[in-house]
């Protein structure tokens, strides 16, 4: 018995056989923010065989309050999160093969990366990427684990293709104006609690203890002392375009994705969201105001100062990010505010 994993092997749910399975498996984590850095640390310590982690951002001062792999030095060096994560994960466990990818988790990239993966963990900050993960999960029959949090409120749900409902069964569409950590704030214990649920589920899947995988949708509020388990046996939607008989995997389709374009000759990126809808600009302005942003507006648009950049948001969800030509950076700013 490897001394390193001795306490985990002692746990009857894992044992020697389970540990051997864990060390032969490959986990893909999408996002290296709060949830991603935490889950990556848990699974690296647990001795997973291979771990791939994908992120498009670099480490900023405001991340340190909850993103557990990073230090002040990483902020000073402006390291990409994926690179900073890889450095720390390798210092923690040199047995684990860590693959870090600096980039936007587009459907194309997800389809490339998912080959040979045993479990996918959701650690992204927006529903567009989650819906793409959900379609990839169904198309390639890879289980994935949804996790999300804002403030003291968080949730998790395990999805196994062919067995459980999928995210598209539950939501039917991409929610507009989902609450994000940049609009609702976040405390680190909430992150820890979501990670606890996601990684426990991941371990069950890695040791192939499918009977123990949680079938209910968990949500909780640590500040209000709420915890609820919602049974999901009736949640499967037969007409679902992601997991039903007539499936089309709509969120792998370029048509249904946020479009980003650099506006010719200007230091500006245009963002067009996949879903046409009507934003409540009043509500958004109030929210951003109370967060300390400088917001100006009229009935048709809002203009928000965001450090070096300025974002102009129209009622249909379209936005212009002035002050950058970097498509990925612009999309990241947009999704931080609009989810």
């Amino acid at each position: 018995m490897n001394e390193r994993y001795s306490r985990q092997v002692l746990f009857p749910g894992i044992g020697k056989e389970g540990q051997a399975k864990i060390s032969s498996k490959h986990v893909l984590i999408i996002g290296a923010g709060a949830l991603g850095s935490g889950s990556a640390e848990v699974l690296t310590r647990a001795g997973v065989g291979k771990l791939t982690i994908v992120d498009r951002d670099y480490v900023e001062a405001s991340n340190l309050q909850r993103q557990q792999l990073y230090t002040e030095e990483d902020v000073a060096e402006k390291l990409p999160k994926a690179a900073a994560a890889e450095k720390r994960l390798k210092a923690i466990n040199s047995d684990v093969k860590i693959i870090s990818i600096i980039g936007d988790a587009t459907p194309e990239l997800l389809e490339d990366l998912v080959v040979g993966v045993d479990v996918m963990l959701d650690a992204t900050d927006n529903f567009e990427t989650r819906m793409a993960m959900n379609d990839v999960s169904q198309k390639y029959k890879i289980p994935w684990i949804y996790g999300a949090c804002v403030g003291s409120y968080g949730m998790s749900f395990s999805m196994i293709p062919g067995k459980t409902p999928c995210l598209n069964c539950l939501l039917r569409t991409i929610p507009l104006q989902g609450m994000t950590c940049d609009t609702g704030g976040i405390i680190s214990p909430t992150v820890q609690m979501v990670i606890a649920h996601q990684t426990a589920e991941a371990l069950k899947m890695l040791v192939e203890d499918w009977e123990s995988v949680r079938t209910s949708f968990v949500s909780f509020d640590l500040w209000r002392n709420q915890y609820t388990s919602m049974k999901m046996s009736k949640a499967k939607f037969p007409g679902c375009l992601s997991c039903g008989d007539e499936r089309t995997y709509p969120f792998l389709d370029h048509e249904n994705m946020t479009k980003t374009t650099v506006l010719c000759g200007r230091d500006t990126v245009q963002i067009r969201p996949s879903i046409k809808g009507e934003l409540s600009l009043d509500r958004l302005a109030g929210q951003l105001n109370s967060l300390g942003y400088t917001v100006k507006g009229n009935p048709y648009l809002l203009s928000v100062e965001m450090g070096k950049e300025r974002m102009v948001i129209f009622q249909d969800g379209r936005a212009l990010i002035h002050g950058t030509k970097d498509l990925t950076h612009a999309k990241s700013i947009y999704q931080r505010i609009l989810g």
């Binding site: 709060a34 989650r130 409902p165 539950l170 929610p175 950590c181 949500s219 209000r224 949640a235």
Partner: protein, 77 residues
């Protein structure tokens, strides 16, 4: 009568952890529309609903005594 529980920002908007309302005979979508208007709640189409701790679709009909919970999916991570 029905106990209706609110999570996350819905709870802030309503100002209470739960309300007691008579929703018997209404669909989930009807109850959502009614509460949304009364409390000026943010759009409720994509908010999940549990009836007696079980996922319920928009057209499910609420019976007397059912406990309803509104669970907003969030996107932070």
């Amino acid at each position: 009568m029905n106990k209706v529980l609110f999570f996350a920002h819905l709870r802030d908007a309503v100002g209470e952890e739960f309300l007691t309302v008579n929703a018997s005979g209404k669909t989930v979508a009807e109850l959502k529309a009614e509460l949304s208007a009364k409390y000026n709640l943010p759009k409720m189409e994509t908010i999940m609903t549990a009836i007696n701790e079980e996922f319920a679709s928009h057209d499910e009909v609420i019976r007397d005594g059912d406990e309803i919970a509104f669970i907003p999916p969030v996107s932070g991570g």
